[in-house]
Amino acid sequence: MLKAENIVSFRQYLIAIGITWFLIIVLLVRFFQIQIIGHDRYRKKANTNRIRKITTTAPRGLILDRNGQILVDNLPTYVLTAIPGELSQKGEKFGLISKTIGLDSTIVSRNYKKYYRGRFISTRLAKDLTFHQISKLEENKLNLEGIYYQQFPERYFPSVVRASHILGYVKEVDKSIRATIKDKSEYELGDMIGWNGLEKKYESYLKGKRGVYFYEVDALGREVGYVEDLPPKKPEPGRNIITTLDINIQKTLENLMEGSRGVILVGIPETGEILGAVSAPDFKPDLFTGLMLEQDWQSILKHPDKPLINRFNQGLYPPGSIVKMITAITLLKNQEFDPEVEQICEGSYQFGDRVFGCWSTQGHGGMNLTSAMLNSCDVYFYKSTHYFDLDILSNSFRKFGFGQPSQIDISGESSGLVPTVSFMNKRYGRYGWSKGALLNISIGQGELLVTPIQVFNYVNLLATRGIAQTPHFVRVDQLPENIHPNFESNIWDRIVSDMRAVIVDEHGTGKSAQPNTPGFKVFGKTGTAENSHGESHAWFLGWAEYYDKKYSIVVLVENGGSGGTIAAPIAHQVFSNIINYNDMAAR
């Protein structure tokens, strides 16, 4: 059986042990390469392997009104996350989650895909969970391995006002937003970034600083303790900002504009502070927090009145007669112009081959500057300005801030349009337009386009004789420099007294703006701006003096009709409210 003799030669034996030692040496060389030569590299890698950086969201700063009432607050909500590396039977777990908290499971899996950045990085599944929902999940904790939750401060609006276009909203940083951010370390996916309004403008104040914790983790991503060399850094909440808004005034404005389209701006002329601003229609500010339903979003987007547009700094409107003070100032600057000389208004004026109508078709009869102002007679202005060069008039407009941004602290502002000779040449060709355009512009029609915030600055400048500061919502150390039109005081006097006449004269177009309160003096001007969208836009601008205080106001009702009958009464109501409010405060 075992008689077969061994026939292995010494040479074969040598080859066998040669191969053995060769293989062992190959392995040793490889170990040497990794352990000795590559030691530094792998040591670093081992360190990053076991340290996980966890960031916690800092609550954003609050936004307050001028009296310290909270306009925007933070609400603690919960975010549900998953560590992909710890997650097995994903589908089942997502199903259980959605069943437990009553959320569509497609949302969960969609979020998982959207936020996935790596196997051991926590990935958001759902947000805005309530404490109740979290406690329900906690009951199923054993079946939800790899699922975690974190507190997340969410924007919350406790106030009675919406102020949606002022406050703006925050948006979640997604991949495409993050790509546009310069300092990537500042924002992570899922963070909130101010996307509009004050939230955007004062992002750097409101944002705060994320807290950072370095955990030592095992390969399953389970935290096993802090890293001693890297102490945790608590999140720093953002700074609060105090706005110039007054909740009471803001509330009044919002109520007044309910159901209409348009703008009301109320402020303090000297300082440029805005007490209330509404762009109607507006929207609930919490529309952009939480889980907005697709249908809500669509209804906002498709709304014919475009509620998302911030009308007071983006809307472009023909101003109509409210700019006649500029035309008047331009006239008064001319030494030869006599404001007392009457021009006859017959309801229209033939200039060249065109007929320019007055708003009053039967005519105003003999008009001087004051009566033309208080009647808002167009023909007077046609007749007085037809010798002007267009650029003289457009210069005057620019002196009051038209045609340029007002530098309001909400971005997205439009510049409006003040036509000049070169602009008209460019648009219509050198011989494509006639001087008739000048007549239109002198009464605030034609190519002239303004934004309500520009009008607000304009009325502030009129009320303060050119020294008003830039309109703003937040008092900052260094306001942008406002324009300061400078005229002789008799010119200012004339304009101010004419604007007072608009309110108090029995023929004054703005007389319905005056509340019946002794000592409350209103100055103003109405405007009825023709436009291509139907009914005229109703304008009222002006200010009120009450004891030592001044309040400026701009009212615009889109397609509202006559400024005197539609816009001026709104100003009246705003003023009445300010009076009541002041009286209450005095008591």
């Binding site: 059986m1 075992l2 008689k3 077969a4 003799e5 061994n6 026939i7 292995v8 010494f10 074969q12 034996y13 066998a16 042990i17 053995t20 030692w21 293989l23 062992i24 190959v26 392995l27 040793l28 490889r30 170990f31 040497f32 990794i34 352990q35 000795i36 590559g38 030691h39 590299r41 792998y42 040591r43 890698k45 081992a46 392997n49 076991r50 590396g85 790596g118 196997r119 030592e216 983790v217 095992d218 390969a219 399953l220 096993v224």
Partner: protein
């Protein structure tokens, strides 16, 4: 011929025993470190599990010393057949972690029959090659041994367990060589494998065809056989891309990840990267016993068996790795020496077979640990924790001791 068994302790190859004692001790030290924070039962704790299995292992090895050598020879084929049946059995049960490697017989642990099949395949081969005092210069005479080894190999490959399949297959080459087969025939055995691998690259395949043709030309077989060999190989090569497509994704992934491990750092290559990180961060002297962060924070996968060498590398450093591999090389070479010195052919062949099994285990496991070859899922002999595997290692150890003792019977 049949005499009473007599063996004396002094006859045992003491160097081989010391090597195994050393390796087993290192294994226990490392497993103790891994098990520090383990909670759960005895079978969940690698250290206590290892201690528990060392008992039957050592008893098994000693028992073998009392079995007559001719008995081993006599039952070689029967054991081979039984082990094949056991390897097939798991296929009738439920898959375990997606494979049919494990046989559950109601014990708190499962048995891996393929671990034993590799021993009995080597013994069966040794018997066949020693019984048939064949003229190994003939190519056709190596066909039966090849069939003998391919049966368990192909079954195990289908479990699927590529690593163990390689280990079962490996002894055939040195054993044929030991039996006097021409190296040219061994080359022809390997040729189809190369033909398949090279087929995926046009240039490499051209070079390979030239090498193949050249070798056949130098060896000068009959013209018709030369043509057959050459074109047969080319045909296999051309066929292999189609075979590739018939592989499972799991198999394809393992091979592909090997080619470019960084491609999928969180998939299959995750293990290799973690292993290299653990080893590399250990440096010359290691981070100290029980202080390996990659190990204890569980970055290192299957650390108690497949990647135990990475734990040694991380905690005990290059120094220990060096000693372990040198000791293992020494152990294998000692077994080869016994094989060379052995009087009878059966023992000599079985010994070189076992040496090859150990060498392939060590090489495949270590090379995988350091990212030289794809992850195979093979443990490191005597050091890795394992039930069936540890017992199989000690059975081979016992057989080595038994067959090393030169006495006449």
């Amino acid at each position: 011929m049949i005499q009473a068994q007599s063996f004396e302790l002094k006859d045992l190859p003491i160097k081989i025993i010391w090597a195994v004692v050393f390796l087993s001790t290192i294994g226990l030290i490392v497993l103790k470190s891994i098990s520090q924070h383990h909670i759960g039962g005895v079978f969940q704790n690698p250290f206590s599990k290892q201690l528990l299995f060392l008992g039957p292992s050592v008893i098994g090895a000693i028992t073998i010393l009392f079995i007559p050598r001719y008995t081993i020879h006599k039952y070689a084929y029967a054991l081979y057949a039984i082990s094949i049946i056991f390897v097939i059995l798991p296929f009738f049960g439920n898959p375990h972690a997606g494979t049919y490697r494990w046989l559950n017989i109601g014990l708190p642990f499962a048995i891996q029959p393929s671990e034993f099949a590799k021993i009995f395949t080597a013994i069966a081969l040794a018997r066949y090659l020693s019984d048939h005092n064949l003229e190994m210069k003939n190519f056709s005479s190596i066909i039966i041994p090849i069939i003998l080894v391919l049966i368990p190999t192909s079954i195990v490959m289908n479990q699927p367990d590529l690593g163990t399949a390689i280990v079962i297959l490996a002894p055939i080459l040195p054993m044929l060589y030991w039996s006097g087969a021409r190296p040219f025939y061994l080359f022809l055995l390997l040729a189809p494998l190369f033909s398949m691998l090279m087929a995926f690259h046009n240039m490499a395949f051209t070079v390979w065809a030239i090498v193949l043709g050249g070798t056949i030309f130098v060896a000068r077989p009959k013209t018709i056989i030369s043509f057959g060999l050459f074109f047969g190989n080319i045909f296999i090569g051309l066929l292999s891309p189609f075979l590739w497509n018939s592989l499972t994704n799991y198999q394809q992934n393992r091979i592909l990840t090997f080619i470019n491990p960084e491609k999928d750092p969180l998939g299959a290559a995750y293990q290799i990267i973690q292993s290299k990180t653990a080893i590399g961060s250990g440096g010359l002297f290691g981070k100290g016993w029980g202080d390996g962060t990659q190990t204890h924070l569980k970055f290192l996968p299957v650390q108690e068996s497949d990647f135990i060498l990475s734990v040694i590398g991380e905690e005990l450093g290059f120094i220990t790795i060096f000693v372990v591999l040198i000791v293992f090389g020494y152990f294998i070479v000692q077994v080869m020496k016994q094989s060379y010195l052995s009087k009878d052919r059966f023992s000599s062949l079985a010994l070189i077979g076992f040496a090859t099994i150990f060498l392939s285990h060590v090489f495949v496991n270590t090379a995988m640990t350091v990212g030289l070859i794809p992850v195979k899922g093979l443990p490191f002999p005597f050091i890795s924790a394992g039930g069936s595997f540890l017992i199989a290692c000690y059975l081979m150890f016992g057989l080595i001791l038994k067959l090393s003792v030169n006495y006449s019977d």
